[in-house]
Amino acid sequence: MSRIGVVVCHCGTNIAGVVDVERVAAEAAKLPNVVFAVTNKYTCSEPGQATMKAAIEEHQLDRLVICSCSPRMHEATFRRMLKDTRINPYMLEIANLREQCAWVHTDKEKATEKAIDLMRMAVAKVEQNKPLFTSTIPIHKKCLIIGGGIAGIQAALDVADAGYQVTIVEREPSIGGHMVMLDKTFPTLDCSACISTPKMVDVGQHPNITLMTSSEVVNVGGYVGSFEVTIKQKARYVDHTKCTGCGLCETKCPTKVPSEFNQGYNKRTAIYKPFAQAVPAKPVIDPDSCKMLKEGKCGVCAKVCPLGCIDFKDTAKEYTETYGAIIVATGYDLIPWQDLYGEYGGGRYADVITGLQFERLVNASGPTEGHILRPSDGTEPKDVVIIKCVGSRDPHKGKSYCSRACCMYSAKHAHQILEKLPGANVYIFYMDVRTPGKGYEEFYDRTRADGAVYIRGRVSKIYKENGKLVCKGEDTLLGKPVSVQADMVVLATAMVPAVGVEKLTTMLGIATDPDKWVQEAHPKLRPVETQTGGIFLAGTCQGPKDIPDTVAQASAAAVKVCGLFSKDEMETSPMISGVDQQKCCGCGFCVNCCPYKAISLVEIDAREGARRVKKTVASVNSGLCQGCGCCTAACRTGAIDLSGYTNAQILKEVDALCL
């Protein structure tokens, strides 16, 4: 026999002004198992709570119904109050007599009748309640960061400076991402390498940061506080524990292939660092070009290496570690425009290049030592056309979104051309000029004052005529066709998610939007969290953005991780699903509908009469379950149920309404 107490709150006149609270309490007193029913002027107040606590003792109550304001308002308050009473905090139900009754009705009789129904439903439900206990999960204070661009670097430094262990997994041989490839950064035009390489060095030397380059995540299990992550490090063929980064091998390697870092405009060796300031500052061997690895002859590097670091028998290694939190910072790639824009030559014209290629051409440590020269013949261009929104804002061929950084970097490129090539002409074809940022509009104004000619319209075709690249388009402001003879064309191509990001997001169980950018938990209020607890995001993996926004987001994600790590363990809600293994038939219907992949099928030893048998049943991972209850409605046997909102509780509530 349960002993239920019912308290009906006046809430001053908020409830009592419309609802006859005394009648509600009197009706409650008539219900079976209700051993105590009163009204109270202000139940949530200190004296109100004291009265309730006294009544709980005096009447030996084991469950409580409070008819008051919305449970969204005071459920937490009342649960806290119950913590030091004989009643378990989850043996409480609240009937919403204020927001959903007194405040929305004027007819006192009808409002009171409804209030009585709501009270009855709450009493019927609370009879079915069972004590629930929050459990705690330990927090492993180690953070995994996937992607070592500026987002990953910033987040790593912030978390590591706060005193926590960090591992960065970067698939390239060096961290740095796209930012180190840039020449100068808008709007201040500070040298990109000068501001990013010191941060890279800090990462490399930080006692709390472990750097895993040439590595990728290959498996993720577990949940917030303890993700089990397997990381695979490709064979590097150079023992980095011995190598000092002297670079002798690189000077002697006879094999030369196009440098990825320099966009193919010059060569690197088969044993190489991607660029001079690479972190770690130690080479790796590219097995796709190394003669020794491909053909079994050469081995020059091994002969010259003074420390004997070269190991042609090196193999990929896998490491499994436990991390409390994960930050995804996999960044972006540029849209493969060649496949989409045949009208721009589709890659046939050497002098039609991307903005990123231009960054390397204009960079002092790049292939041309900073001289802007045409890739085709190494001459200085005189007339340069810049085309914006190539692949962006073009739902038919590319993406419908705006890539956000291109308006500004195109203005930067125009400025750099006009500065480095006196007498040159720059024509920028644009749809709109978007400069939302501090100092951005001013930068754009300056570029126009420098002499850049902005033409509103898209270029519809580029073709070669008399050694010139003819860009034909329409000036939509003048309503006239235009044609510009250019020596070089720079395309501001769209940002797209990093190649292969789907594999990672599937492994992590996090959502992506239709364009495959990682989905944030809430676009406004939870911009650096994902739907999965303990997994955060930073930088362009979430959508196109520039460096200031990337860095801000990275620091925000770091704060979220530090917040999580400030506790040794985390309380989890007990209102989650559980499976009655006896009833479960192992159909797996629940497995497929769980948004959090919290359910798996497991094999257990069961008894069938006297026999011992193997049986497949569903099992809920309490660290992953968020308590939505979606699974419960899928189960035909009623084996899976949601604590706090069980089938029995809800059915009783329904029944009570129609007594």
Partner: protein
């Protein structure tokens, strides 16, 4: 009291509302002191996908004249994809009820966000009016049969 002949008859409507959107929207209607008919009683659930079709049948069986299932707009579900399941399940459910002779207006699924207090008020007002016009539900209802009503 007979369900058959009561001059002051008012429909009883049960609304299953998800905690994050519709329940919040209903609270907001209260905060804004909006007014709507007192026929609807809300059952608070974490997600509209928690609603088992069995609950709806039980409500009709026990004497509800109308049932609503309300949740976040598709795409806005607090649990990411929960309400996509709700949508699919209740498209089927509606047809099952219709097949069994329950007027489709008696069962309605609606998406109402936490900020759509006015939509909550309007929906509840409209549904209450529609169901009042339909009169008491007798299909599936235990009491009707107990009181000797003919199976329709």
């Amino acid at each position: 009291m007979s369900v058959k002949a009561d001059p002051n008859w008012e429909p009883k409507i049960l609304a299953f509302c998800c905690n994050w959107c519709t329940y919040t929207g209903a609270d907001l209607a209260g905060l804004n002191r909006m007014k709507y008919p007192a026929n609807v009683r809300v059952v608070r659930l974490p997600c509209s996908s928690r609603v088992n079709p069995q609950f709806i049948l039980r409500a009709f069986q026990k004497g509800c004249d109308g049932v609503m299932v309300c949740g976040c707009h598709p795409g806005d579900c607090h649990y990411a994809t929960g309400n996509y399941f709700t949508r699919r399940r209740f498209m089927l459910m509606k047809r099952l009820l219709e097949y069994n002779g329950i007027d489709p207006q008696r069962f309605q699924a609606r998406w109402i966000s936490g900020s759509e207090a006015a939509k909550f008020r309007d929906t509840v007002t409209r549904v209450a009016g529609e169901i009042k016009a339909l009169g008491p539900n007798t299909r599936f209802q235990e009491k009707w049969y107990e009181e000797g009503g003919e199976a329709q």
